[in-house]
Symmetry: C2
DNA sequence: AAAACTTACGTAAGCGCTTTCACATATATC
DNA sequence: GATATATGTGAAAGCGCTTACGTAAGTTTT
C-alpha cells in the first residue's frame, strides 16, 4: 500500500511537492531533448524579462515572482553568465540594479516559445485528463490563504479543541478552598494580597454569591485549573473579577471559557453591561477582554477600584445589547 | 497585477511550490504556538514509525515516503537526537539499520495526535471552502503521471509540433538535383556511393517513378531537408528506400513524416506490404521503423539487397492489412 | 570456495532556496 | 543641513533535499 496516500490530507504537502518535482523534471527532460541549455527554474525570471516590462530591479522581480531577492540574484547570475540577460545600475536610484534581456536572450526566448507552448499543452492535457481544473483550485486556495494564513487556521482549530476540553462548573461549597488558593497564587505573582481580597476570597458565598453574583470554575482533565467571579453591582450591571488560571493550564482557553461563561451568565441574569478592572501589564488578559468585545471605559468605577493596585489599572466595559 | 497568475499553467509548478510552503509554514507556527519541539518535515517519518509497522529499515522508509535514503538518515538523526526514535542493527541482515519509536516518542505522538487532527481539519476546511476536492485532483494527476511521465508528454507535444512544421511534397523535375545530393550526402557519411546508386539517384523519374514508384520530399521552413523513395516491387509490395534527412534537420520529425507519407501512398496504391532494408548501426532509423510497425523479416529480399552494404543490414516488413 | 554481483547504508558534495547581516543610497524629520 | 529611518542589494551561512560514490554485507554464479 501507499503510505502517503493513506495519510490523506496530512501528507498533502509531501504529495504536492512530489507533483511539482515531477512537472519540473519533465521540463528538464524537454530542454535536454532539444539540446537547449536552459532550466525550468529560470523560466519565470527569464519570461518576465522577455516581456515588455523589462528592465526591472532585483526587488521588483522578487516581488513579482514571490521569492526572496537573493533567489533572484542567484538565478540572474546563471542567465548573465550565459549572456541571456544583462544588468546595469539604475541612474535614477543608484541603489538599484536593473536586469534586462539581451538580444541573445530575445533570440532564445523566440526559440523557446513553441517549447513553452508544448509544456502548456502537456500540462493542460494532464490536468484535463485528470478531470480537474487545477488552476481554479490553486487560485481559490491561494485566495483562501490570503484571507487567513495556514498558521492562524491551525491555531484556531487548536484553540477550539482546547476550549472544548475545558468544562465550566458553578460554585459549590467544596470549591471554597480552591477558589482562594487559585486567586492567592495569582495575586502573589502579580500584586500583593490585600485586606479586602482576603475577606472576599475567604467568604465567596457571603460576599459574592449571596448579593446575586456567581463564582465559576474551569475544569481540565478532572482538575480545577481556573476560576472567575461575577459580582452584582446593580440589576443591569455586573463586574467580572477574580479571574485566575493556574500557570500550568494557561494558554489552554480556560480563561476564555470562564469569561465567556460569566458573560453568558450575566446576560441570563438580565445584565445590560459587564465591567471589569484590569491592568496594562496583563497583556494576555487584556487581549482576551478586547477580543470578547470589552472596550476601554475610563470613567467607569468598579468595586475593584478600592484596591491599591487599581492605580496601575483601568476599567473596561462590555455592552450586552 | 500578479505575474504568476497571468502565466496560468506555465507557472503552475511555482504556485504549487508556494502553496506547499505556506501549508508547511502553518505547521511550524502551530508547533511553536504549542511550544513543542517538532517540525512539519519530520511528520511523515515520525508518523510512519508511530504506527504498528515499526521497526523499519532506512530503505523501507525511503520507499514508503518516496524520498532518497539520505533524506531519511538526516531526518532520523534529528529525531534520534531528541530521543523520539532509536536505531539498531538488524540481527538477521547486518547491513540494515532499523528505526523504531521510543517510549518518549510514543508519548509525543499521543500529545501530537490532536494537533495533527487540527491540521487535518484546517486543511480540509481550506480546500473545502475553496470548493475543491484537492485530494482527488492530486490522486488523479499522480495516476496520470504514473501512466506517462511529464517529460514524455512534453516531448510528444514537441514532436507533434515539429511534425506539423514539416511539409511533404511529391517529386517534380526541379527536385532531381536535391534528391541526388541529399542521398549522396547520406551515403558518404555512412557507406560508399556505389554504381547502382548513381544510376538510381541520377534518374529517379525513369528508375523509380516510371515503374510505379514515387519520390517524396520533406520541406521545413521553405527548404527541402529530406527525401525518401517508394519503389514498386509488385502490385502488392512496395519498398521504402533512399530515406535521407540532412543532418541539420534531424530529430525534427522529417524522417517520420516522410515514412508515414510513403506508407500512406503505398496503401493508396493498393500495397499490402511495405518492406525496407536497413542497417543495425542506424539506430534512429531502425527505432523509427519499429515504431511505425515494421518488424524484422529475415527471409525477405529487397531490391537494395544487391548493394554491398546490405551484408551489414537486414530487412523489415510492414503488413498493411 | 572464490569471484562477481546486488543490496543497504553512510558520507560528501551540490543545488536552490531561505534567513541574516552588512553596507550603500534614498527619503523623512527635525 | 544634519540626523534618523527606510529601502535595495550583496555576501554568507543554513536548510533540506538530491546525486554520486564508497564500503560492508548478503546472494548468486562458476
Amino acid at each position: 500500500m501507499d503510505f502517503l496516500k493513506e495519510l490523506g490530507h496530512l501528507a498533502i504537502a509531501s504529495r504536492m511537492k512530489g507533483l511539482t518535482d515531477r512537472l519540473l523534471r519533465g521540463g528538464t527532460e524537454a530542454y535536454r531533448y532539444l539540446d537547449i541549455d536552459f532550466e525550468p527554474r529560470w523560466f519565470t525570471l527569464f519570461y518576465l524579462l522577455s516581456t515588455e516590462s523589462s528592465p526591472l530591479s532585483i526587488q521588483q522581480i522578487a516581488d513579482a515572482l514571490k521569492v526572496s531577492h537573493p533567489a533572484v540574484i542567484q538565478t540572474a547570475q546563471m542567465l548573465v553568465k550565459r549572456g541571456l540577460i544583462r544588468s546595469y545600475q539604475d541612474e535614477a536610484d543608484r541603489r538599484k540594479r536593473l536586469l534586462a534581456i539581451t538580444p541573445k536572450g530575445r533570440e532564445l526566448a523566440a526559440e523557446l516559445t513553441p517549447v513553452w507552448n508544448c509544456f502548456l499543452a502537456a500540462v493542460s492535457d494532464l490536468f484535463g485528463s485528470a478531470g480537474a481544473d487545477m488552476m481554479e483550485v490553486i487560485r481559490k486556495v491561494e485566495e483562501e490563504l490570503d484571507r487567513e494564513e495556514m498558521g492562524s487556521r491551525i491555531i484556531r482549530k487548536i484553540k477550539e479543541m482546547q476550549a472544548k476540553a475545558v468544562e465550566i462548573v458553578e460554585y459549590s461549597p467544596e470549591h471554597r478552598e480552591v477558589f482562594r488558593t487559585l486567586n492567592e497564587e495569582w495575586l502573589k505573582k502579580y500584586f500583593a494580597v490585600e485586606e479586602d481580597d482576603i475577606r472576599l476570597l475567604r467568604h465567596p458565598e457571603e460576599v459574592i454569591i449571596a448579593p446575586g453574583g456567581a463564582v465559576l470554575f474551569a475544569r481540565l482533565g478532572g482538575k480545577i485549573v481556573g476560576t472567575t467571579a461575577l459580582l452584582k453591582r446593580d440589576d443591569e450591571t455586573y463586574e467580572l473579577a477574580k479571574m485566575a488560571v493556574t500557570p500550568g493550564a494557561q494558554r489552554k482557553q480556560a480563561g476564555r471559557r470562564l469569561a465567556e461563561s460569566a458573560i453568558a451568565l450575566a446576560r441570563q441574569k438580565g445584565a445590560k453591561t459587564v465591567i471589569l478592572m484590569t491592568d496594562n501589564r496583563l497583556r494576555a488578559a487584556v487581549g482576551l477582554y478586547r477580543n470578547l468585545g470589552f472596550r476601554l471605559a475610563p470613567n467607569e468605577t468598579t468595586t475593584s477600584g478600592k484596591y491599591a493596585r487599581a492605580k496601575f489599572g483601568f476599567a473596561m466595559k462590555l455592552d450586552l445589547e
